[in-house]
């Protein structure tokens, strides 16, 4: 007997823990990635020839041996580009497809080879003879500053109140520096593009990209074609994490160049090592801070400088370093604040988007300041965090002058501290550490507040296209891309909910610039917020037409038409959805619609550093417990408890996956993932043998993850859900702080360990040693 109280739900509607739409294909090996697409006859394989200097003039480039190599059909250099030799995503014309004149990082593409097989192209690409005249190379933040601090874009300055005066007047004041490493995306599917030439010089590109519209524009720009000559399509990516927001441009452009020049399909898939060497990563930062505070640990004034190694071009470094500043507060109110970014140009690969987009680095500055205050005053860092949370009269304005209206951080932290038994465990750990000679434990709880919206306001728009066929099945297309995050599943759930039809009746189709134009990148956690709303709008347009038709046909008022699971109630009768659709078709009702959405209320004036750049904030908190070996610096993350909010979750299973996956990825960034360049500017950690992302055995042996309940988004987002792609990444700050807590035990918590990231065993041991030497 049905539960009278429970509303009837459509299978796979919103809020159901529906499996990823491709799960069956994933586990059976049937999911098609770009390298799996049937290869057209005559397809050529491409490979890139890469620069072997970090900074040098190209004196001569002899590609004779490349052209003569077995299987080679063509070699392409900048001279072969009919349009512009540039794929800068921000219009700065500082990102050449192929370097000319000067190379500006080790691994920069110089030319491309087309051959019958990939192996032939790859072997030939190594045969280029390039004569270089070295120019002094600037490889990191310190060197960039020493060389005059050239910037790749304008810095941002945020200010509220009078930080200098507050610092001068504060009863306590301290300064410090934190270094934060970068991170390789390590998407399992590397960069890849398959271009197929069409008539009139047109080209279709299958690109593993988060941003098909940008790839379309870049290919057109490079080939000298109008955008309408280029179609970009992507069904799914094998991971992206920001690494395919702009970085796919070059690969797509080269494939399209070869395809249009040769009149053959062309595929470019670099080896993992070349992918890691030649594509951008998360920015590493040097954060300088100066904080004044009172006896209770309240921040009175703070001044931050966030210097980032941006690499050889701007790429997205402007918005990334901006977002770092937007998160220099994390969850904390600063009465007086001044913060500046320093986006430094270096002779390293141009750094780019990566989950969190500068936000994680920004927050680490805030959390370091909290930690410094706690150690200076001998307080539990949690107490200092709580003392500084946003909230209360006049304590709700960010450094960029947006009000924090939806603050749930204090409640989440309280709830988590209780459920994870933080206080008692902290006491037990301190007792343990008093008697443990070698192994020391640490615990920390850190919150997250992450701003949701692209800070480039115009990006906050989306389109969708929905067709209802006469058999009642639905074809769904939207501008977002599927990279594993379950976006397509969530958007399909929204459409199924709108029509009240079984999710299995909704077909998710590949993202294509030919179906939905002028889309934004699937980035900034915005995928389901934007595309869910656009798809819902399209579906509701059709539903409205159906409702109007039904009302007219049956002579009832429109409000007496209701969409129920699988059927429509019209007055006193119920009609199967499919039957209504058929009738509507016969009556010549349009069963296709586009949908559009733009985020309301947001605005941002970068020049003044004021505005309302974020539609809302997403919150979470985590407690981590670790054990370190003070003889070697080795450690284990033993237990993690997470409480994270997703508003009214569209799909709790998918959201949980984002939370767990984001946390572990963040933990990798802050622990074992270390990018290491040698003195010549060569990245030496360019494969999984040398670059270590977390393994299953790195997952804490106790890993409690809870999605907060009863926290509907205050804003009218899609079904009052919240974005969940990036925010959980920053929950991993708890691990760094727990390691720091363990290190601090060696001097009885008298000194802030100032543990930098990534906290490799080597850095942990160095911190232990430094503290002991100074104690």
């Amino acid at each position: 007997m049905p539960d009278i109280g429970a509303p009837e739900r459509v299978p796979g509607g919103v809020a159901s823990a529906t499996a990823h739409d491709s799960a069956h294909k994933h586990v059976s090996g049937a999911a098609v990635y770009i390298d799996d697409i049937a290869e057209p006859a005559g397809l050529v394989h491409l490979y890139l020839g890469l620069a072997e200097r970090a900074h040098a003039r190209i004196v001569a480039m002899d590609l004779t041996a490349v052209r003569a190599a077995e299987g080679v059909l063509a070699v392409f250099t900048a001279a072969d580009i009919p349009g512009e030799n540039d794929v800068s995503p921000v219009g700065r014309r500082d990102d050449p497809v192929f370097a000319t004149g000067t190379v500006t990082f080790h691994g920069q593409p110089l030319f491309a080879v087309a051959a019958a097989t990939r192996a032939e192209a790859r072997r030939a690409a190594r045969l280029g003879r390039v004569e270089y005249a070295d120019v002094p190379a600037v490889l990191d933040v310190a060197a960039a500053r020493a060389a005059g601090a050239a910037l790749v874009c304008d810095p941002l300055r945020l200010a509220r109140g009078d930080a200098a005066a507050a610092l001068a007047a504060a009863p306590h004041r301290l300064q410090g520096r934190m270094e934060v490493g970068g991170q390789d995306h390590f998407y399992l599917e590397g960069q890849i593009a398959l271009a197929i030439p069409g008539e009139d010089g047109d080209v279709t590109v299958h690109s593993s990209t988060q941003h098909p519209s940008e790839v379309q524009h870049m290919v057109a720009h490079v080939l000298g074609l109008p955008s309408n000559a280029v179609t970009v399509e992507v069904r799914r990516m094998g991971g992206a994490f920001g690494g395919k927001e702009t970085q796919a441009n070059l690969f797509a452009a080269v494939a399209a160049l070869a395809a249009t020049k040769l009149g053959r399909a062309a595929k470019l898939r670099p080896d993992r090592d070349d992918d890691m060497v030649a594509t951008g990563k998360r920015h590493d930062f040097v954060i300088d801070y100066d904080v004044g505070f009172d006896d209770d640990g309240h921040v009175l004034g703070v001044d931050f400088t966030y210097a980032a190694r941006c690499g050889n071009s701007a790429d997205l470094s402007g918005p990334v370093t901006d977002r770092a500043l937007f998160h220099c507060d994390n969850c904390y109110y600063y009465p007086h604040v001044h913060a500046t970014s320093e986006p430094l140009r270096t002779n390293t690969v141009s750094n780019t988007a990566f989950r969190g987009f500068g936000g994680p680095q920004g927050m680490l500055g805030a959390e370091r300041v909290i930690e410094e205050i706690a150690f200076a005053l001998g307080k539990d860092p949690l107490e200092v965090r709580q003392a500084n949370f946003y909230g209360g009269p006049g304590r709700d304005v960010t450094p960029y002058h947006q009000m924090v209206a939806d603050n749930v951080a204090p409640a989440l932290v309280d709830s988590l501290a209780r459920s994870a038994n933080y206080a008692a465990r902290r006491d037990a750990i301190r007792a343990f550490n008093r008697t443990s000679r070698v192994i020391r434990r640490g615990i920390a709880i850190t919150p997250v507040k992450f701003g949701i919206s692209f800070t480039a306001t115009h990006y906050n728009q989306a389109g969708a296209l929905v067709h209802v066929y006469t058999d009642g099945s639905v074809h769904l297309n939207h501008g977002g891309t599927e990279m594993g995050q379950g976006l397509n599943t969530k958007v399909a759930q929204v459409v199924a909910e709108a029509f009240q039809i079984d999710l299995r009746r909704v077909k998710i189709t590949a993202t294509s610039t030919g179906k939905v134009p002028n889309t934004s990148a699937t980035a900034a956690s915005s995928g389901s917020d934007l595309n869910g709303m656009a798809a819902q709008a399209a579906a509701l347009t059709i539903r409205e037409r159906l409702a109007r038709f039904a009302a007219e046909k049956h002579g009832v008022p429109p409000e007496q038409v209701a969409f129920l699971p699988g059927r429509v109630r019209v007055g006193n009768q119920e009609i199967a959805f499919v039957d209504l659709v058929k009738q509507a078709y016969m009556a010549r009702v349009q069963l296709s619609a586009t949908g559009f959405y733009r985020t309301p209320t947001i605005h941002w004036d970068r020049a003044s550093g004021k505005g309302h750049p974020f539609y809302y904030f997403a919150y979470g908190a985590a407690v981590a417990e670790v054990a370190i070996d003070t003889l070697t610096g080795e450690y284990r993350v033993e237990r993690v408890d997470i409480l994270h909010e997703a508003g009214n979750s569209l799909n709790p299973a998918i959201d949980r996956g984002q939370i767990e996956g984001g946390f572990i990825q963040g933990m990798g960034w802050l622990t074992t993932e270390e990018l290491w360049w040698d003195g010549a500017g060569r990245l030496r950690t360019h494969a999984p043998s040398t670059y270590k992302i977390p393994l299953l055995s790195d997952v804490p042996s106790v890993f409690n993850v809870r999605i907060a309940e009863g926290v509907a988004n205050r804003e009218p987002t899609i079904h009052r859900s919240k974005a969940v792609g990036e925010p959980p990444f920053m929950l991993a700050m708890s691990v760094l702080h727990a390691l720091s807590d363990a290190v601090a035990s060696v001097v009885d918590y008298r000194v802030c360990p100032r543990l930098d990231a990534p906290a490799t065993p080597e850095r942990v041991l160095a911190a232990v040693t430094r503290l002991r030497a100074g104690a």
Partner: protein, 492 residues
């Protein structure tokens, strides 16, 4: 007697290949030639596991299945084997295998690119272990990277899959005898000899043929599991000519445990050696767990680990500390060498042209000897050591140290003993003061390099720390000197 045809089973299909590139990888053949596209390439170096397949070999009348990385497995080395890929698991009617169903039920895939590799690694676990504990699951999945899920749902799937089907009714378990019989028909004593593009490949079936081939081709590259040699091809694009594959030689795959020693043929894989190593000393078992992932342990050999001559060498430091010796053979001539003398300099070993490593002998420790080996790496599992220290101490009735053998990897151009440290230890009592003196002496023994795995300063400091850990653990009074013990204590 030679043949130039390679025969194996792909699922149930007999594949008979001629004129194949000897260093073509199984992955490239699956994807490019067969267009069997479920198996993915993530790194082409045996570190990410996206290309994982299961390879079956006949053993004692049935099949033994193990996962391997197809990206670094040379195609002709599959002769006489059965290859199973992700496409072979679901039934013809589309019913998923319990491994696949469990991953789906637990939301174990996001982008899905690593998923076929996880499916196959879990499938190997399913075939070989009933109800593994978390430690066994971790060990089975150390060779698979996932960047999306954070692994929690995959761990859940590894537990759940056993509830979704009857292992004993699995067709790949019940069909083992029949498959082994089919493959027996492929077995012969003939050497496989391939010529392709001017390059030569030999795969002798027995040690006598191997010895003869190496006399004729003394500079041949010898490959067994090819977990390193494979990368010479996939990463360095080296041309290997001639290449001699020794994996068919059963006589090199023997394990003999006696009261005095453990003797391993050069072809014994890490996986095969693991139980015997653990019986020799639990510390050795603990080390084996931290070498590669399951795929690499299944393919890679102890002999290869030695003969390869890596400056780090996971097993050489403890084997040197234990006083192991190796037997090298050229033609019918054999010589025995202390392992420590095999490593001459970076990239140079005491192996003459035409000579091959035949076996390894590890003497048993006296019952009261103290021994430990510690590997330090950036990531705990499936990482190359920043350093690896092995320590062995014998004491007389008064507790005075009569012999000390200390060996390190990652601290010099070869795995190497620490004579100054040993001198400080020998003749002294095993005390903290002795340990501190001996630790300080390590600075005289080693001048390590700085690289991406660790700085020189860290290596030196950690090396001293490892000796202190050895003291604290063995001298008693410090039950929590080891992080593994700490972990189990915390969650017992």
């Amino acid at each position: 007697m030679t043949r130039s045809v390679v025969r194996f089973l792909l699922g149930e299909e007999v594949c008979t290949l001629t004129d194949i590139d000897p260093t073509a990888t199984l992955l490239d053949w699956l994807r490019a030639t067969r267009r069997s596209l479920g198996t993915k390439e993530g790194c082409a170096e045996g570190d990410c596991g996206a290309c994982t397949v299961v390879v079956g070999t006949p053993m004692d009348g049935t099949m033994r299945y193990a996962c391997i990385d197809s990206c670094i497995r040379f195609l002709p080395t599959l002769d006489g084997c059965q290859v199973l890929t992700v496409e072979h698991l679901a039934r013809e009617d589309g019913t998923l295998h319990p491994v696949q169903q469990a991953l789906m039920d637990c939301h174990g895939s996001q982008c899905g690119f690593c998923t076929p590799g996880f499916v196959m690694a879990l499938f190997a676990l399913w075939l070989n272990a009933a109800q593994p504990d978390r430690g066994a699951i971790e060990a089975a999945l150390q060779g698979n990277l996932c960047r999306c899920t954070g692994y929690a749902p995959i761990l859940a799937a590894a537990e759940r899959m056993y509830a979704l089907g009857d292992r004993d009714a699995d067709r790949w378990r019940t069909g083992g005898v029949a498959t082994a019989a089919r493959l027996a028909a492929f077995q012969d004593g003939e050497t496989i000899a391939l010529q392709h593009g001017g390059r030569r490949f030999f795969a002798p079936a027995d040690a006598e043929a191997l010895a003869a081939i190496l006399l004729t081709h003394p500079d041949a590259t010898i490959a067994a599991g090819a977990t390193d040699v494979g990368l010479w091809v996939t990463k360095a694009m080296r041309v290997l000519d001639p290449l001699v594959y020794i994996g068919r030689i059963a006589a090199l795959r023997t394990i003999a445990e006696t009261a005095e020693q453990l003797e391993l043929g050069a072809l014994v894989s890490y996986t095969e050696a693991w139980p015997a190593f653990a019986r020799l000393h639990p510390e050795l078992g603990r080390l084996l767990r931290r070498i590669g992932g399951a795929q690499v342990r299944n393919a890679g050999t102890i002999g290869g680990n030695i003969a390869n001559g890596s400056p780090i060498g996971d097993t050489p430091p403890p084997l040197i500390a234990l006083g192991a010796e190796i037997v090298l053979r050229k033609g019918d001539t054999r010589r025995t060498l202390a392992l420590e003398d095999f490593f001459i300099a970076y990239g140079r070993q005491d192996r003459a042209p035409g000579e091959f490593l035949e076996c390894l002998r590890i003497p048993r420790l006296p019952p009261d000897a103290l021994f430990a080996v510690y590997k330090v790496s950036k990531r705990r599992d499936e990482d190359i050591s920043a350093l690896c220290g092995a320590f062995r101490i014998d004491r007389d009735a008064d507790g005075r140290i009569t012999q000390a053998r200390v060996a390190f990897g990652g601290m010099a151009a070869t795995p190497k003993r620490a004579p100054a440290c040993e001198t400080e230890l020998t003749g002294a009592m095993w005390t903290q003061a002795t340990t501190e003196r001996a630790a300080a002496a390590l600075d005289a023994d080693f001048a390590p390099l700085s690289d991406w795995r660790a700085s020189a300063a860290y290596r030196s400091q950690a090396a001293r720390g490892l000796l202190m850990r050895f003291y604290l653990e063995t001298a008693g009074g410090e039950s929590l000197a080891h992080l593994d013990d700490a972990r189990s204590a915390a969650h017992a």
